[in-house]
Symmetry: C2
Subunit: 200 residues, 2 copies
DNA sequence: CGAAGTCTGGACTTGCCGGTCCATTTTCGC
DNA sequence: GCGAAAATGGACCGGCAAGTCCAGACTTCG
């Protein structure tokens, strides 16, 4: 079933509209009718593009949002080659989540799909992998440049940092405060710098 | 409306049964009928003890689980007075979540109630506060004993560590792996030991 | 330009499940 | 033990929203 140009546009409009609706009201309150109203589509369109109904739509929303998460951190995340770059990245992450605030369509869509589902697991897992991969890559680059102690295990450090970020965001989602995210980011980076040879 | 001995027992049975059911099937799939079947109660009992229905029940489950989270970490969490105690605590946290695996009634109940709700916020917020408080207390004790550098900000360190734990658990919930939680715990503690005076 | 197939509108069905009600039984203080 | 209050059983209701269907309009490509 090939998608015409128009069809693809409609499909995207639906996904984005659903994401907006989720941001506005939450997933539990998400009704197909709301999505229809918001995107000026009819029920048959929803089922035309997402034959498995609501769950399939939610999964598409999750995928869409997952892609944004990494994109929003570029180009910094892809080029963590100096301490300056690390701090710019830190600022960007913080700004992004501060702006997003309490409403995270990704987290919430996944929780509805069931994070323990195969489909949910793969969306979340891939995001986590790519994220951690880029962090580890950054750490290795810094080690090559002699700015991070070579005896640190890059993957393990990246895992811990990523965990801190995830937790910080999770706490942000419930408390509305960014203090934890900030602390996790700052102390995580600080930890990388400890025992570091030529501190700028 | 005082609760008789029997009434209190029934109430508790309902909460625990609901938690089990959530562990088994998830929140979205949670139907009152399932809880009734599992706890051998009738619908009128559910509404007798939780007049506001499902949401009130879910909140009670969340509260119940939140209390367990802290309790399960005792007595270690309350007495972080030596590095040995810290490592024993670390092991306990890891064991607890490893055993719990992918199904976390607290996380999932809160996501249904809406973490951004006042009620949800208060349950999660209080848990987080108490948890972080005990960590910070432990750090201060260690500082008094000269085992952690006095210039560290105990609250900030505790916040970062807590974020790491939360993120580690969150990742555990979706991937099933404890690597991130472990890394966050170990590197978090390692960070506390850096620059520390009389390393054992 | 024309046919195959995509896209769209919207009415209709359906089943589930949260919530209400009242009658009956049990508990518990005095 | 006795009466008031609490606990229990289970039938019933009602609404909501997911999903189905078919007829008709638009796209696309030879």
């Amino acid at each position: 079933m090939p998608l015409t140009r128009k069809g693809a546009a409609t499909r995207r409009r639906i996904i984005e509209g659903a994401a907006e609706q989720i941001r506005a009201e939450g997933v539990f309150a998400l009704r197909l009718e709301d999505v229809m109203a918001r995107t000026a589509t009819s029920k048959s369109q929803l089922f035309h593009y997402f034959p498995d109904g609501k769950d399939e739509l939610l999964l598409a929303v999750a995928r869409h949002e997952a892609a944004r998460v990494i994109d929003d951190q570029q180009p910094e995340l892809g080029a963590l080659t100096s301490w300056d770059a690390w701090y710019r990245w830190r600022d960007k992450v913080l700004a992004r989540y501060r702006a997003q605030g309490v409403d995270c369509p990704l987290h919430v869509a996944l929780s509805r799909v069931g994070a323990a589902t195969d489909a949910g697991r793969s969306v979340a897992g891939e995001l986590l992998d790519r994220w951690q991969g880029q962090l580890a890559e950054g750490i290795r680059r810094m080690q090559e440049g002699g700015e991070i102690a070579p005896e640190l295990d890059a993957d393990r450090e990246a895992a811990a940092l990523l965990a801190g970020i995830q937790g910080g965001v999770l706490i942000l989602l419930t408390t509305g405060g960014t203090a934890h995210l900030e602390a996790a980011l700052d102390l995580g980076i600080a930890h990388l710098r400890t025992g570091n040879h030529r501190d700028r």
